[in-house]
Subunit: 244 residues, 2 copies
């Protein structure tokens, strides 16, 4: 197994060969899902956990008035529903936006494994902490960044996250998202999303194909967004936790 998840964990310089074995054994079976499938559904009991080996998904909540808010994008190397089995029902829906390859395993197996491989447990905790930081940055975006900065910020975040999982070393990145999806992630109307979109396009920072977005000129985008990459830590685990 040389998944994006493992790639990402390797950069932690924490895990040893035996840990990777444990990680491998976790996965009971592989799942291929088509675009637009619901992997986790709001309100339902969720007993399985997924490693994203390939593909993109969005995690969102639906409001009574029918609006929805995308809470996070899910990329190769991410884990879907790590905490979900601890709760009676899922709070959000996770839906694929392209076809995906998932590693599937039941929650109780995780609990066992984690006990036998404390370093792996730590790596999972690290991943959970990383996800928390991403959510917090999204809160900052929605609360205090103008819509153009917000959009630029999201683009750069996605690009950086892809890189951290070993995808993309290019200067141009293709994101499989359309304007509706974007507006639900940015908390904007789709019409306003389109306007801002045009702005960035006019300055040749982005380009569009139907249902896809191409990022050019990532450094200008990043400075436009005041992007501070520190919340996406490439290599880490402080000394304290290397003790194991």
């Amino acid at each position: 197994m040389q998944s994006p998840f493992v790639y990402r964990l390797k950069s932690l310089e924490l895990l040893k060969a035996e840990d990777f074995e444990f990680a491998e054994n976790l996965i009971a079976n592989l799942d291929v899902v088509d675009p637009g499938m619901r992997i986790i559904e709001e309100g339902r009991l969720q007993k399985k956990i997924f490693f994203v080996l390939d593909g993109w998904a969005v995690k969102y909540k639906t409001l009574k008035d029918g609006n929805r808010q995308i809470v996070n994008f899910i990329l190769p190397g991410d884990i879907i529903g790590l905490f979900a089995p601890l709760f009676q029902h899922a709070e959000h829906t996770v839906e694929s936006i392209v076809s995906m390859k998932l590693g599937v395993f039941p929650a109780d197996k995780l609990i066992e494994t984690v006990q036998d491989a404390p370093r792996l447990a730590l790596a999972l905790a690290w991943k959970a902490g990383q996800d928390e930081r991403i959510l917090e940055e999204q809160i900052v975006s929605l609360g205090r960044r103008s819509s153009a900065k917000r959009m630029a910020h999201l683009f750069i975040e996605l690009y950086r996250r892809l890189r951290l999982s070993g995808y993309t070393r290019e200067q141009a990145v293709i994101l499989p998202v359309n304007q509706l999806l974007l507006s639900d992630a940015l908390g904007l109307s789709h019409i306003h999303t389109h306007r801002i979109f045009r702005e960035l396009e006019k300055h040749e920072l982005i380009e569009r194909l139907p249902g896809r977005i191409i990022l050019h000129n990532l450094s200008i985008l990043a400075s436009l967004a005041d992007f501070d990459e520190s919340y996406l830590e490439p290599i880490s685990l402080s000394k304290a936790s290397r003790a194991l």
Copy 2:
């Protein structure tokens, strides 16, 4: 130790007597902090973890332009910096808004303890999952709720969270927050925050003392906010995880 944290964990019906002993032993010493003190500071290495035994704090990030966004409120029973020791530096600042009583312990002690008491580890994971849900709900608020609903939603959330930790059974709740704090949490200007504030006050849903807010008529506030309490789970841990 009969802290709000333990109170909250008890409702999980997961921990046994021995686990509480472990939890007790975690705490190396108690800390009393004055209002306005920084418990965790953005950019600094963070090696300690804190249990909030009493008091309130806010967790926020500061932007280049000086603006700040409060990411979450921290209440009795919450844990400050659970994942922080896994990273090179803290991403946010945690600042007390009233005087607080904290249980302090070093990260490596947590790692040991967690290995010896897997049920406690599970309880911590549950707490992390609960925090994640709260962040996600905040994202939904900022992205898709009108400012009045957003404010009402925040108030009800704080009330519910206090109740879940054993605080407050009253129909009126006093929150130690002022309008500036509120505006930084809601992602609004302080002037607009004040306007919305007046709205709710006019309808006698809230009342004010300097630097404090009193909630009356919680049920009307909740329906105004379309508050769906399901993301704050009082008792849970699905069957799968009770195996231990």
